[in-house]
């Protein structure tokens, strides 16, 4: 209750910015991820915070929300009043609200019940009818009156869910000075994302400022009033949107001038030899009609930002998720959503979620390694454990798994060593096609080099490799061809010398049209677009 009163007091402080941060730094052990950041977010504006992966956007958000404490020397004001950073209670009391990418909704509860989750109203009696009316009003206020408070969240469309999360974030306080939207649209198709822009405008009309975290340039150019760009933990630009265009923004984010000659170098996507893996019209949640051909010995890199569909490809190919379109290995068609069928056809996948999708948690290194094909050791009605141990011994040695004892439980190994075992599980069966999904994420630097060596070797041995990664350096180093995805489609294919980490990053960021000039009319009238 006290918090609400405080919020109203703040509402009258019109002349102050909604939030002012100064001298914010954050150091983890040896790595400084945020350096002396000053940020001013004005009342009622949509302020975009941009930057590549690892530039410090999320750290900034986590400091605002109180999840991280900044290094000493940081100061902050909310509505002109001093504000203590690094405490989630203080952030909540001051009226800072956050909607994260995963939205934090309970899928099988109704919209109205979701509003009650985590509400700080104590144990007073619930009045369902009154609650529903209030929730309906909150949704109508941001233009989503079509969402019924009694509908279950799981039955809503993706943008409707986001709208529910936004309305809920604003619900318990009469004036919220700042709403932080942390990549709320990154997993939405672009057209759906635009339906939220109207909701965002309605929020700012009430005087609430929005800090909009995104790496989609076209969205930002359309909706934002001002843009702050972070690079390597430092603020490298804070400009009104009118002063920016697409190229300027990309340059700020990447920290270098674009080499047009380099990125325009586009070669038709011809594989080297006969395609072993043929994918046509692949369709998933975001992925929309992707064709791929990979030949023996080729490493095809799949690049894209979060939400571009690149993170979905491996799941669709492996049968982890249901898909549309046709996938065939050596002309043999693979049924969708059947991991066993993919493996039998020689298409093996190392998934990104190691603990959830790859590791047999209670199993030993030996059991995890041989799971891919146990019949190798099944001879005449007898399981030859000795042969298995010998086989595992040689693989542990070749993969340089540490500790070397194959009877260790998998959970006793470090992430890098677990990953070697998971990769080794498929290497030992000599797959026709090897799909790798972020193979070196969360892996120490030594294991990363080892794994890169294995990817090169397995390709040299004639396996067709599909490497889905957000690590552009890794892609540039290993790929013989890279497809860059945007909005569920292959936006560009890079071949040969054109494959550089810079070129991939640039293509990931390009707007839909690919012509920076075409974006300008939108910049001039951001209102019109919504």
């Amino acid at each position: 209750m006290a918090a609400a009163v405080l919020g109203e007091e703040r509402a009258v402080e019109h002349e102050h910015p909604a939030v002012r941060l100064s001298g914010i730094s954050k150091t983890f052990e040896t790595a400084t991820v945020l350096r002396d950041l000053d940020l001013e977010i004005r009342r009622g504006e949509i302020h975009a915070l941009m930057g590549q992966n690892g530039s410090g956007k999320s750290t900034t958000v986590k400091i605002l929300s109180g999840f991280f404490e900044p290094d000493p020397g940081a100061t902050a004001e909310v509505g002109g009043l001093p504000f203590e950073l690094g405490s989630s209670d203080a952030a909540r009391a001051a009226g800072l609200r956050f909607v994260h990418q995963n939205l934090g909704l309970v899928d099988d509860m109704s919209v109205a019940d979701n509003f009650m989750v985590g509400a700080t109203r104590g144990v007073g009696r619930l009045r369902p009818r009154r609650e529903r009316a209030r929730v309906a009003a909150a949704l109508a206020a941001i233009g989503f009156e079509r969402v019924s408070p009694s509908a279950k969240v799981m039955d809503l469309t993706a943008p409707e869910r986001t709208a529910v999360a936004i309305a809920r974030a604003l619900d318990d306080m009469s004036h919220v000075p700042l709403l932080v939207l942390d990549e709320p649209t990154s997993s939405l198709p672009r057209e759906d994302a635009r339906t939220l822009f109207d909701a965002m405008r309605r929020v700012t009309e009430r005087g609430t400022a929005i800090l909009y975290i995104s790496h989609h340039l076209d969205e930002v150019l359309q909706i934002a009033d001002r843009v702050s760009v972070l690079r390597d933990g430092a603020l490298v630009g804070q400009e009104p949107i009118e002063a920016l265009d697409h190229d300027h923004l990309v340059e700020l984010m990447l920290g270098r001038r674009l080499n047009r000659a380099l990125v325009e170098h586009d070669v038709p996507a011809e594989p080297h030899g006969e395609a072993i893996l043929t994918v046509s019209n692949l369709t998933g949640v975001v992925v929309d009609g992707v064709d791929l051909h990979v030949s023996a010995g080729e490493v095809l890199g799949v690049a894209g930002l979060v939400g571009s569909g690149s993170d979905e490809i491996a799941g669709l190919l492996s049968g982890r998720a249901d898909r549309g379109g046709a996938v065939s290995v050596r002309g043999r068609t693979i049924a969708p959503a059947d991991p066993g069928a993919a493996i039998r056809s020689g298409l093996c996948t190392v998934p990104v979620d190691r603990s959830g999708h790859a590791v047999i948690t209670d199993g030993t290194v030996r059991e995890n390694l041989t799971l891919s094909r146990l019949r190798d050791f099944w001879k005449k009605g007898r399981f030859d454990v000795r042969a298995e141990r010998r086989h595992v011994g040689t693989w542990v040695e070749r993969l340089e798994v540490r500790p070397t004892d194959p009877e260790r439980r998998m959970t006793e190994l470090s992430g890098g060593n677990q990953q070697k075992v998971v990769v080794g599980r498929w290497l030992r069966v000599e797959p026709t096609v090897l799909v790798l999904e972020e193979p070196t994420q969360g892996v120490d630097i030594g294991s990363k080099a080892d794994l890169h060596g294995w990817i090169e070797r397995v390709a040299a041995a004639g396996t067709a490799v599909v490497l889905c990664s957000t690590d552009t350096t890794e892609l540039a180093r290993l790929s013989s061809r890279v497809v860059v995805m945007r909005q569920g489609k292959v936006a560009r294919t890079l071949v040969g010398d054109a494959i550089t980490s810079e070129a991939i990053e640039h293509d990931q960021l390009m707007t839909t049209s690919g012509h920076p000039a075409a974006v300008r009319p939108d910049i001039d009238q951001p209102e019109e677009a919504s």
Binding site: K26, F28, A31, V33, N53, G54, S55, G56, K57, S58, T59, K62, F68, G233, S318, G319, R320, P339, G340, I343, T349, P351, S355, G356, H357, A358, V359, I360, T361, D362, G363, E367, T370, L371, S372, L374, R375, F377, W378, R382, F383, V385, R402, P403, T404, D405, R408, R409, T411, E412, S414, G415, N417, R425, G442, V443, D444, I445, G446, K448
Partner: protein, 370 residues
């Protein structure tokens, strides 16, 4: 740690007795034998006592193996107690009302259980009903069927002497029903421990999604394990019929919890997974403990059985999870490391010391501390 096979410390490792955490049941077994051997030597240390306990526990042990099979793939089967009674009631009804040969009747009874197990599997695999709930519901339906078929009456005197002799005689001085149990245990042990099928079953129980993505037919394993569980429980009913010869409506479901307790107790032994020999040792150590107490206190300590079972189960699980808990905390801490790093950290490899920590955190090499 040296891997030289001639290293004397490695040889010593093999000679070390099993650790208390891994084999608490064996130590308890030894303790029970010594304690009651000294306390009531005249009655406890006799072949009569041993034969009696061995034979009496066979049905519970069979039931425990029936629970064990689906538990390995991560499914609960709560219907096995009622299944036992169902099998027996079908068998006695057939014997009482038809001219069928007893062997055929037995197969029909076991087959009927298999059909019920198939239906449970259908619910669990196709309709995605939680196995705990599906088999709980199925056990109620089975109990109702048993009451209906038996008309809620005791059925006795329907078996031929020849049929009963298959449950009451000895072979080589051992009760024949115990031999049945040993054969069943050997078969199940072989499949679980020494075949690719068993390995895939353990993988499914540990991480079903990872197993499925590695090409294991997890649905089929869950379904099949429920059918096998039902068949084994059906066999238990037939064995009980051979041994006791009578159906009464109090038979079956009350055995469920002791059998479950034995499986969980057994899962703490030897391999730290549900396993056949651990289960059997658990069944018999509890039985001998109870028997000893009954012989030592001759005047009516009716509460001793559940008390002893309960204390032993809790003690064994606590001992086993002590190291398990430490390991779990370490695993959690390690897992929470990467997400705690900000997206900005983009760690150039793991934080320093991570490699070292993983070597530290693993329990000391076997043979040093254990």
């Amino acid at each position: 740690m040296s891997h030289n096979p001639g290293n004397p410390s490695r040889v010593l490792t093999r000679l070390r007795p099993p650790s208390l955490e891994r084999a608490s049941a064996l130590y308890l077994f030894a303790f029970v034998i010594v304690l009651f051997g000294l306390w009531v030597p005249d009655t406890f240390l006799t072949s009569v006592t041993f034969r009696l306990v061995a034979a009496d526990q066979v049905v519970i042990a069979i039931l425990a193996i029936a629970i064990l099979v689906p538990l390995v793939v991560g499914a609960f089967d709560l219907s096995v107690g009622a299944m036992l009674a169902f099998s027996l009631v079908v068998l006695t009804w057939l014997e009482a009302n038809t001219e069928l040969n007893a062997a055929v009747s037995s197969l029909v009874a076991i087959g009927a259980c298999g059909v019920v197990g198939f239906l449970s599997g259908l619910l669990v695999v196709r309709f995605k009903v939680n196995s705990f709930i599906a088999t709980l519901g199925m056990s109620q339906i089975l109990a109702a069927s048993s009451l209906w078929i038996s008309e809620n009456r005791q059925i006795s005197g329907v078996f031929s002497e020849r049929f009963l002799s298959f449950g009451r005689r000895d072979i080589a001085g051992v009760p024949i029903v115990f031999a049945y149990l040993v054969v069943l245990a050997l078969v199940v042990w072989y499949v679980l421990q020494a075949t690719p099928l068993g390995r895939n079953m353990f993988a499914t129980g540990s991480n079903p999604e990872a197993a499925r993505l590695s090409g294991v037919k997890t649905d089929g394993l869950v379904w099949g394990s429920l059918v096998v569980s039902a068949l084994i429980a059906g066999l238990g009913g037939v064995v009980y019929g051979m041994k006791i010869g009578t159906y009464s409506n109090s038979f079956g479901p009350p055995l469920l919890f002791p059998a479950f307790a034995a499986v969980f107790f057994g899962a703490t032994q030897f391999t730290r997974r549900p396993n056949v020999w651990g289960t059997l040792v658990a069944v018999y150590v509890l039985a001998f403990g109870v028997k000893g107490l009954q012989l030592a206190f001759t005047n009516g300590v009716y509460w001793i059985t559940p008390m002893f079972n309960g204390v032993a189960l809790l003690a064994a699980v606590t001992l086993a999870s002590r190291t398990g808990i430490v390991r779990l905390r370490r695993a959690q801490r390690r897992r929470s490391d990467p997400p705690a790093a900000p997206d900005g950290a983009e760690p150039a490899g793991d934080p320093p010391g991570r490699q070292g920590e993983s070597a530290d955190s693993s329990p000391a090499p076997d043979g040093v501390l254990r």
